[in-house]
Amino acid sequence: MSGPSPAGRRSLALALTVVLGLAASAATARVLDTGRPSLPAALADEAPALSPEAARRLSLGFGGLAADWYWLSALQYVGRKIEAQTQVALPESTAAVELDRIKAVDPKVLVRYFELITTLDPRFMAVYEFGAVVLPAVDVPAAVTLLEKGIQANPDQWYLHQQLAYISWQRGDYLAAADAFRRGARMTTAAWMEHMAERMERQGDDPHVARAMYTRMYEQAQDDQVKQWALKRLMELRSLQERAAIRGVLSGFVTAHGRCPGAWSDLTAALRTAGLTVDPQGPPLDPSGTPYVLVVSPLGCDVSLHRSSTVPRG
């Protein structure tokens, strides 16, 4: 019985080379990934060199595709920055809302990305939405400019007026926020925008206005990150309200007994009456389902969030 022919042996050797070569390249790729020389942070964060107009001309009709590419790059840039800040953050701030850690980004880089994307594809709505949430933390005028650009390019999108109103509201400019809501209200039959404009004018700093604002953002947001961010903001507002109610209950107990309660179980009935969600074992639960902590000190008693709670600490 004879073995394989010389041609067969050659083919086998070549096939083996292919397999071994691929395996070696995959193994080396991992080494190269970790060893690749990186630019210093200041150089690595250089804004894209191409001006938006030059990029539009060079895109040769593939503006949408180029915008998608810059969008992904912008997300990666923001993600990298949030990740870097998470690694140096103090334990107390680890539960802060992710997009709020955006202060580490270079506004020039982010603004250039947003300019590029919206010039290449002016109807890229997610960019305006993301920009309205992210940019005010680092460059408020740039955020307003971006939204105004979006409104000009998308005159049928009342949603952008809501985003613009949010930026003004965050700055404490309630009249500008009301004006933005009114402009949006003229474009939609939904009465809530007009209603929001009136509330803004009356009492823009009211927590109920804040809740309404974040609820609308949560409902309207297309971007999942923005949705999650709005949800966390709502949790924070609810927790602030709950803690105010718990402090009221604590104050009532101290007045009645002349001392702080020894445990949450002393207050279960009162907490339930105040409309709080209470764990069967006693402690009230925050919006993330984590028990609140009863803090008793010589100065008095108070309530705080548990370390493991995912409710933002503001």
């Binding site: 070549l14 096939a15 080379t17 070569g21 691929l22 390249s25 790729a29 080494v31 190269l32 060893g35």
Partner: protein, 280 residues
């Protein structure tokens, strides 16, 4: 009768002549490929490169607010990669295709030359041409840098390792071009090679994008593409070089191993496909 005698004596002489070793056959084909590239004026691109570099050095440098050295390195190495890539792809595809078109392939295979040896010889011949090309271009960039710095510029330390990496990338592109031309038409081979060149520079980004995806299957697919296609951005350290950042020796060694692994893989695959190709 006389004719029969002549033929048999010629056959006797041929049989008596020692058959050259495989290595010598490969070297002969490589040498011939290099000569052919020179004859085809492939190296004329160097003239264009020098012209571009001179214009870049004089005009861009003057208008760059003392960033002339950086711009020269960016410009020179970028042009080196692009020129080299076009030579590797277009000449690489032509290496096999021209032999088929001119029907000279039949004459070659009538001699004791294996198909694998033919491919390897062609590959090495073009690699030598590219090495000369890259070396001359590197020397050109060095001279311009020395000229603008009026001495030895600090960027030189990062320049030559980066030139070496560009050359490694070009060897992979040559192997890609040979792989495609081993089984397909010249047009498909050119488009396929260009696609690998473009995608190869984005595979690292694909891996980055994979981390943004929530769908595990899509994430796995992107990571698979990263490992199945050569990551050519490994060899593209032009931006760090323009800032004077040289790749460490360990990285250069790993890049060399990576390039050899891909060269071997692609050439072996090309030889496998070429061995099955029917030229009738």
């Amino acid at each position: 009768m006389l004719a029969t005698t002549d033929t048999s004596s010629a056959a006797t002489v041929a049989a008596a002549r020692p058959r050259p070793s495989s290595r010598r056959r490969v070297v002969a084909i490589a040498r011939n490929t290099f000569r052919e590239a020179v004859r085809d004026r492939v190296l004329y691109n160097l003239v264009l490169f020098v012209l571009l570099l001179s214009v870049g050095a004089v005009f861009l440098g003057a208008a760059s607010a003392s960033q002339d050295a950086k711009i020269i390195v960016d410009f020179g190495l970028g042009a080196m990669l692009l020129f080299g890539a076009f030579i590797a792809i277009f000449v690489g595809v032509g290496l096999v295709w021209k032999e088929i078109e001119r029907r000279t392939l039949y004459a070659i295979f009538a001699k004791p030359v294996g198909r694998g040896e033919f491919l390897l010889g062609k590959y090495l011949g073009l690699c030598v041409t590219l090495a000369l090309n890259v070396a001359v271009m590197g020397a050109g960039v060095t001279l311009v840098l020395v000229y603008v710095a009026r001495g030895t510029p600090p960027l030189l330390a990062a320049l030559w390792p980066t030139v070496g990496l560009i050359y490694l990338e070009l060897t992979i592109l040559t192997a890609v071009a040979l792989l495609f031309s081993a089984f397909s038409s010249s047009i498909f081979a050119v488009f396929g090679s260009l696609a690998v060149f473009v995608i190869g520079h984005f595979t690292a980004d694909l891996k980055g994008f994979a981390s943004l995806l929530d769908v595990p299957a899509a994430r796995a697919a992107l990571v698979a593409i990263y490992y199945v296609l050569p990551n050519l951005s490994t060899f593209s350290l032009i931006t760090p070089a323009a800032h004077g950042i040289a790749p460490p020796a360990a990285y250069l060694l790993a890049a060399l191993v990576y390039a050899i692994a891909w060269d071997a893989t692609l050439l072996a695959a090309a030889a496998l496909l070429f061995a099955r190709r029917d030229f009738r």
